[in-house]
């Protein structure tokens, strides 16, 4: 049984899909990565700010203006780091990207600017009393692992599935004329047996699988009037309508 929490979305095309909700642990580690990156950025800006002799810098209007800009960028960096990534980088801050997570609005929609602002401004409440105390409790209680900011903004952090192409898709190809001919020749009963076998073979015990494959292959070969060959399963794949 799958105990992982999911959110299900039905598209306007009436097709359903579901997201797996990201857990507290992985969100915490991703948060640590983001916090480290933010800390590094803040430190860099502050070093620039402190660079140079203070007395000279403050007397100079241009230097003062530059420092003003640095302060504003510091402010933007602290408050809008997450907002930027969530709105303009598909809901993935670098930490979330690293741990394969994504922020989406409920319903599978993207996290828009007002949502991202609310979600991240509420951090100042979520972060209390000790680092993310409230957030931790709320996420623990909420079945979808949302912190206060998520609840208010109507967002969920979901786990991103692997983008790898499955083997069955990679090896799928159109049939050759001979294969198509062979399939046409198979009587309905054998056709159904082979199809059912190919669909279920992964769940069979090895010895049962081998015995069934050999039985079916000889039966199908007899029906087609051909030689079954050395590998019964390969033969069944070739003549049967496999459900990959």
């Amino acid at each position: 049984m799958d105990l992982r929490e999911r959110v299900t979305v039905e598209t306007p095309e009436m097709v359903e899909f579901s997201y797996e909700v990201a857990g507290l642990g992985s969100r915490f580690t991703a948060g640590l990565v983001d916090a480290a990156l933010q800390g590094g950025g803040v430190l860099a800006i502050l070093l620039l700010f402190w660079a140079g002799d203070e007395s000279i810098a403050f007397a100079d209007y241009a230097a003062s203006a530059l420092r003003g800009l640095l302060l504003v960028s510091l402010f933007l960096f602290v408050w809008f780091y997450h907002v930027f990534f969530e709105v303009f980088r598909g809901g993935q801050s670098p930490g979330k990207r690293l741990f394969r997570m994504r922020v989406v609005a409920e319903g599978g929609f993207p996290c828009t600017l007002p949502r991202a602002s609310v979600r991240n401004l509420m951090r100042v409440v979520d972060i209390l009393p000790i680092p993310y105390g409230i957030a931790g409790v709320v996420m623990f209680l909420d079945p979808k692992g949302r912190r206060l900011g998520d609840l208010a903004a109507g967002t969920v952090v979901v786990r991103e599935r692997s983008a790898a192409v499955p083997a069955a898709v990679a090896r799928a190809r159109a049939l050759t004329p001979e294969e198509r001919e062979a399939r046409r020749g198979l009587p309905p009963l054998e056709k159904e047996l082979v199809r059912a076998f190919l669909q279920r073979r992964a769940r069979l015990a090895p010895e049962a699988r081998g015995r069934l494959a050999a039985d079916l292959a000889s039966r199908a070969a007899a029906a087609l009037g051909v030689d079954g060959g050395a590998d019964p399963e390969a033969f069944l794949e070739a003549v049967g309508e496999a459900a990959p």
Partner: protein, 353 residues
């Protein structure tokens, strides 16, 4: 059609969709050329149909998950929640039309926020009248120092300013002000999620601080120094702070009185509006900080500062009262519907080739 044939016939399209999706997720829809946007939408719809067919035909879990990821990604890129435009309405239209209309619709919350703040001011001022020492305890040391300095200045030169500063400091000081004020504004909003209690307390405290500082300055006999300083930027800064407070109270109100919705749906509806209110507030605060940095401390007659304050305050008032009228239906947009009730619009235009 059986699963094997679906796979054989469709895999090239899925892989193409996957390649486009990778670009969209990294850099948004703008990463696609106009022709590719159309292709992307078509591939998404076809793949959604393939997913439904594959489920009927029966297939490996791995294949289904692969296709689900593609469909989910396409859906996320192409559709928007109802009431949220495809690409936002643009900063100009937002500021001219939507924000003022939103503030007007938040009038009850704004009135409550203003009442709490004024209550704080009056409370602190009244306390100061009876027990001046208590008012001094309410004030941070920096404000007390400023009052002392103003007293000394006036004794020495017959003239006093709220802050004494070299012109070179102004850009730096101004940005510090924006940062501090916006921060205070963000916090007063964020605490709305404590059912509005935190926001109410912060509004009251901020009012009390204002009242206490005013009382200390007038207690020292330099009230004019404080009021002429506040006159120029206060009429912009205080409304901005109060609007953020109203946004926080609306979030709190959704939790206390959700009306026809569940508490969570009500919270999300109010919070998205509140997020927009906050966006406009940030712009107001930037203007206020410019005035605070370049007009308020300037050595110009008090009357001129008052004129600037009145003009700026009048402009804010006119903006809030008049902005977005006459374009009601379109600019305010439909009320935000409950989540997940369908697409608003599908395509955004891609980058020109």
């Amino acid at each position: 059609m059986n699963a094997e044939r679906i796979l054989a016939l469709r895999r090239d399209r899925w892989e193409r969709l996957g390649a486009l999706l990778e670009r969209v997720q990294a850099r948004g829809m703008a990463a696609l050329l106009p022709g590719e946007v159309r292709e992307f939408a078509r591939l998404y719809r076809e793949s959604a149909a393939d997913l439904a067919r594959l489920r009927t035909a029966g297939t490996e879990a791995e294949v289904e998950q692969y296709l689900e990821r593609l469909v989910a990604g396409g859906h996320n890129a192409l559709y928007r929640a109802g009431g949220e435009g495809a690409r936002g309405i643009g900063l100009g239209r937002f500021l001219l039309h939507r924000f003022p209309a939103l503030v007007r619709r938040s009038a009850p919350a704004l009135a409550t926020a203003a009442a709490l703040w004024v209550l704080g001011v009056l409370l602190a001022y009244a306390v100061a009248m009876v027990r001046p020492d208590l008012a001094r305890d309410l004030c941070p040391q920096a404000y007390l120092d400023r009052a002392e300095a103003a007293l000394v200045d006036r004794a020495r030169t017959g003239h006093a300013d709220y802050v004494r500063m070299d012109a070179a400091f102004l850009p730096l000081w101004s940005s510090t002000l924006v940062a501090n004020n916006v921060q205070a504004t963000f916090v007063v909003f964020a605490f709305g999620v404590t059912a509005g209690v935190g926001t109410a307390v912060l509004l009251l405290l901020n009012g009390m601080l204002f009242g206490a500082v005013a009382a200390v300055f007038s207690g020292e006999g330099v009230a004019g120094v404080f009021w002429t300083f506040v006159a120029a930027h206060g009429p912009v800064e205080i409304p901005a702070f109060l609007i953020a407070g109203a946004a926080g109270l609306r979030v709190g109100g959704a939790l206390l009185r959700p009306g026809a919705f569940t508490r969570r749906d009500a919270l999300v509806r109010e919070a998205v509006d509140a997020g927009r209110l906050l966006g406009g507030t940030t712009v107001l605060l930037a203007v206020a900080a410019l005035i605070e940095a370049f007009v308020s401390p300037a050595r110009i007659p008090a009357a001129e500062k008052v004129v600037v304050g009145l003009a700026a305050g009048g402009a804010v008032l006119a903006w809030i009262l008049l902005g977005g009228r006459g374009t009601r239906g379109e600019e305010e947009g439909p009320p935000l519907p409950s989540l997940g009730d369908g697409p608003a619009s599908v395509l955004r235009r891609g980058r020109r080739p």
